[in-house]
Each structure stands twice: as C-alpha cells, then as structure tokens.
C-alpha cells in the first residue's frame, strides 16, 4: 500500500493535491482513500491531507502515521511542531519540499534519514500558491512511478472541470511540469508494508481517574484567553514597520487589523508577532507605505 501525506497551510491547495493524486491513482486502477484533515483553524493554519492507494481493498483507517512519501508545500512548516511534518518519517520515507533552499541544506538541517528532494520554490508569491497543489500532486505522481502522465492529466480534468478551462489549463501546466521535472527520481517511493491488525501496536491504555466535573472542565473566569493561541505560526509573510517612515497617523494599521495584533503606544504602532496571521492588510493600507512584507523564511534563516 502507498501512504502519502501532504502538508501545507489552509488555502495552499493540499486538499486539492490529495484529491488529484487520489483520483489519478483510482484511474490507474487502484483502490483509494483521500481525505483532508484540519481543525477549527482556517486559511493560513497548518493542515494536512493524505492518500492511501493499494491494489487490494484498504482496511486501514485514520491519519497516516508511517508515510512512504511526505510532500510539504510550504517549508516554513517544517520547524512548526504542531504541523507534524516529520511525524513517522524513517529511512524508507521520501520527503519532497517546496523550498527556496537546496536539498543539501535541508538534509543537513534536519539530519534527515531518508531521501529528501526539493521542488523549486516557484510559489513564493502568495497569489501563486493556489496552484502549488497541482505542482505537488504532479511531482508526487512521478515519484510514485505508477501513475502515467495521461492519467494524471485525466484526473486533473475530472477534478477541476467545474472551475473552467483557464483554471484547468493553468493547473495542468503546473502539474505536468512538476511531473516532468521529477523524471530523474521516478519510482523512488516504495510501497510500505500492509499493517494488519496482527502488526498493529497494542493500545497504550491510559488510566483516567474520574474527576469532579468542575475540575475536569474547569469554568474559565478570565477574559481574552485566546491570546494563549499563537496564531503567529500561520504567517508566511511578516509585516515589518519602518519607524522612520511611519508618520504616526490615526493608527490605520491598528484599526484595520482584524486580529487586534497591532497596538498603539504613544502614537507608535507595535505589531504582536505572536498573533499576527500575516494577512498584510496593514501593508496594503499604511498611508506612507511604512510597512514592508518580508518572507518569514528570512527570519528563520537569520536564526539558524
């Protein structure tokens, strides 16, 4: 059985990627499961989607813990623990990263045990990211080596037809280019062993003492507890204020920020990077253009 996990942020098309790959597998004669997985978070938050494909009926259920292939649409997710990109990766697992850096750099940085490949980071522009799903699906299809080029194209037509010819064509170009670019690595992903009930690990039972209701689900008396949630992790671009240009206007940035992530202290705006989701409204609206959009990866590089 093939087990493939796609990681991205809400809005980057990983649900589409898993759907495209799943349909391509199906058209190639496989039994397939494909499903996105996300919680209450929305656009920008880490999400994943997965595909299982096998020639025989699939009885395995739930999320994939032992992937044969991990595709990461956005390399800023790799260091985010809650994204779980590296979960279950072993020497058998092929990892495909969409990144501006070299595979060598990432292999070294992660001390990665398996094969690590990169897609050229063509999708640095946020508006282009919506097509990265097709790119990921196309590249994954080639790495698996069991999906013919025409089958990939047919799957794409079938899944995206409702969006009109222009969208289909654009995605098709991306998917096939990625398919072709991966020729050198065709078929490098191998099928993982079937995990039958006999091989399933014994459940790790946890004793849960019965707590009084008010201790088990305590009443919250504090206000604004949402600040404990670090939505700053959603960001791929960081707004940075150039205080030499900020003319201390009527706090346009702070007023329009949907997330209460810009406070004004003595007329001076301060961005709360723990919570800024990176919508870039402030960048677009600042009257003297004092706020720049800087890719987050520049900051993680500076730290590394």
């Amino acid at each position: 059985m093939y087990r493939i996990r796609f990681h991205g942020r809400g809005g980057q098309g990983m649900k589409t990627a898993s759907r495209l790959l799943g349909t391509a597998f199906f058209l190639a004669g496989y039994q397939v499961q494909d499903a996105p997985r996300y919680g209450a978070e929305r656009r920008g938050a880490p999400i994943f989607a997965f595909v299982r494909a096998a020639k025989a009926a699939i009885f395995e259920r739930g999320i994939i813990r032992e992937p044969d292939l991990v595709v990461v649409a956005d390399d800023s997710l790799v260091p985010v623990p809650m994204a779980g990109v590296l979960q279950g990766a072993d020497p058998h697992t092929v990892m495909l990263l969409n990144t501006g850096e070299s595979a060598e750099t990432w292999r070294h940085r992660l001390n990665y045990p398996g094969t690590l490949l990169t897609l050229p980071a063509e999708a640095a522009e946020r508006a282009e990211l919506r097509f990265v799903g097709a790119t990921c699906a196309g590249a994954a299809a080639r790495l698996l080596g069991v999906i013919p080029r025409e089958t990939l194209a047919a799957a794409l037509h079938q899944e995206l037809a409702a969006h009109g010819e222009a969208v289909v064509q654009r995605n098709l170009d991306q998917a096939l280019a990625a398919f072709d670019a991966m020729a050198e690595h065709a078929g490098c992903v191998g099928e993982g062993a079937a995990v039958g009930l006999d091989r399933a690990p014994a459940p790790a039972w946890v004793e849960l003492p019965v707590d009084p209701a008010d201790a088990a689900a305590a009443a919250i008396h504090a206000g604004a507890t949402s600040v404990e949630v670090r939505t700053g992790l959603w960001r791929i671009l960081r707004p940075v204020i150039d205080y030499a240009r900020c003319n201390r206007c009527w706090w346009v940035c702070s007023e329009f920020c949907p997330d209460s992530a810009i406070k004004v202290v003595d007329g001076r705006p301060e961005i709360d990077y723990d919570h800024c989701k990176g919508c870039m409204i402030c960048v677009a609206q600042c009257p003297p253009h004092a706020i720049a959009a800087v890719p987050e990866r520049q900051f993680s590089e500076a730290k590394a």
Binding site: R42, I220, A224, V264, H275, K277, A284
Partner: protein, 310 residues
C-alpha cells in the same frame, strides 16, 4: 440627522487605539467579519454578553479560549434572539431581586452570520423585535454559509459563484433586503456598517448603545476565503463596496431612513466585482455584459430611488 446627537467620534483620531477583543482567534487571516466585530466591541465595551448562532464566529470561543472579556452563549442558527431574550430576562430578574447591583448589568448582543440573520433566524428576530427586546443584533454578512464552505445563503448576491452555485452564471437569485425587512418592524434602530469605514461604524454603534429596545446592525464582511481574494485586499474590497454604491451605508430611526455616507461619484460596480474570484466568470473568458449591466442597473436604480431623500 445623524448629527443631532453629539458624537465623541468626530475624526479618525477619536477612534480607540487599543482593542479589547483578544488576539489568537481562529478566524481566517484578513477576515472582514472579525474586523467589524473588533471595531464594534471597542465601542460597546467589556460589559457585553454575546449570544452567538452557529457560523464562523462560533469558533471564536472554543473552550478554554475566548477573545471576549465576558460571557458568550451559543445557540442554534435559528434561535439567537430567543437566547438573547433569556439572557436579558435573567439579568432583569437578578437586578429586580437585588442580586446584582445596577452597575453590574450587561448589554446583550446577538452575533450571527447572514445565513442566520437573513434566513433561519429571521423568525426569532421578528418575534424579539415585536416583544421590544432590549438587545443589539450584529450580523456579519459574508454573503454565504462561510463556516461550512461558502454555500449560497439568502444574502448571496446575484451572479456570485458559491459552493452550491457552481454553474457558469453563478447564483441566479438576488440578495434579500434585510435592512428593509428589519426596518419594517419599526425597531428602535437599524443600520448598515462595514469595518472598512470605522468612523461611520463607531458613530452608529455609539448611537445604538445609548438607545433601548431592538437595535439591529448589518456589517458587510468581505471574506477572503468565500469571496476569493487575497487577504490583504479586504479593506480595498470593502471600500469599493461603499464607493460603488453596492453597499449603502444608512440608518433607520423614528420611521426615517438616512444615508450616512453617499458616494459623490459612484465608481462603476465592476471595479468591486473584478477584485473577487467569485465574480471572475463575469470577466473571463469573455465579459458577461448582460449580467454586469444588470448588476449596475440595480445599483443605479437603488440610488435613483433615494434621490431627494438625503
């Protein structure tokens, strides 16, 4: 007319520069609904209890996290105003029995999406207005069932693509006029607002806050996810909604409707439509002149009907 009551929000600099809505909510980056909510909450203040029908904003308060400073009650899509009645009654009883002092009284605010306000919750709202319930209703109108993936709602505009209007022409129906429906009940106050016009919004919420009885506000909420535009365009899209005249800013009071911000030279409505992927099929592969002209004609007819009124 709106100038009769002295406002403390005379210019932009009078708007609050600190915000009481907590950060860290699960709303999408660039959510126009959240933008309107934080502006409204700044004016209403901490002593507000929110009664919230199912929708995107249900996710604001997911135990143990909440961006609010006080309580929040969750109801079904059809019954938020009924929930507000219960909260108001409970507060009134506590006040009457002396179990809370008057200064601990709370304002009761209903918070719902358009699916609830224009559709499933309309009957409960009608009843609450009829009973003269002392509450404020804030509807953030993202013109669809956003939380479940932007299906068509009774607020979806003509021609928009939604998850359930996927055909080549988009949604064939027309947006319901909720402002008129609410105003026909003769409540204390009805207004339209948008987060991208914060001064107009602040004055209206300030005014509503000072009143008693049913006060109902519809905030057009540009939705990057459901309307398909880059999140950084939220303010631009919202401003165009006002400049093109497709979202008239107005208020109803004492049987009279007043427009609070009349676009002097209306920008062609297609400038607004063009920015949004949900209308992309009106422009490519070829322009759908008939639909574009129809939408423009409706906007023009609206404002022609308003002439002499301001």
């Amino acid at each position: 007319m709106s100038e009769q009551i002295a406002t403390i929000y005379k210019r932009m600099k009078d708007l609050p520069s600190t915000h009481i809505l907590g950060a860290g909510t699960p709303m999408c980056a660039g959510c126009g609904g959240l933008q309107a909510l934080h502006e409204v909450y700044d004016i209403l203040g901490e002593k507000t209890v929110f009664v919230n029908a199912a929708g995107c904003m249900t996710l604001l308060a997911v135990y143990p996290f909440t961006p609010f400073r006080g309580s929040w009650l969750y109801t079904s899509m059809s019954s938020a105003p009924a929930g507000a009645q219960g909260v108001r009654d409970a507060l009134d009883i506590l006040l009457a029995k002396g179990r809370i002092p008057p200064e601990e009284d709370l304002a009761v605010a209903v918070l719902t999406g358009d699916g609830s306000a224009y559709g499933m919750g309309l009957s409960a709202t009608s009843g609450a207005i009829e009973r003269g319930l002392d509450f404020l209703y804030l509807c953030y109108d993202n013109e669809g069932y956003g939380n479940t993936g932007q299906q068509t709602s009774p607020a979806t505009p003509h021609g928009a693509k939604t998850a359930t209007a996927t055909g080549p022409a988009g949604f064939g129906g027309y947006k319901k006029d909720l402002f008129a429906i609410w105003a026909a009940h003769r409540p204390a106050y009805v207004a339209t607002v948008i987060g991208t016009e914060p001064l107009d919004l602040a004055r209206k919420i300030e005014k509503a806050k000072a009143m008693k009885g049913p006060r109902l506000i519809i905030a057009l909420a540009p939705c990057p996810t459901g309307w398909d535009f880059d999140p950084q365009q939220t303010v631009e899209v919202g401003k165009l909604a006002v400049k093109t005249g497709i979202w008239p800013l107005k208020e109803y009071e004492n049987g009279q409707v007043t427009h609070t911000k009349v676009p002097s030279q209306r920008v062609p409505v297609e400038e607004y439509l063009k920015k949004q992927g949900r209308f992309a099929h009106l422009f490519a592969p070829q322009r759908d002149e008939a639909t574009l002209a129809e939408i423009q004609a409706q906007v023009d007819a609206y404002w022609a009907g308003m002439e002499g009124e301001q």
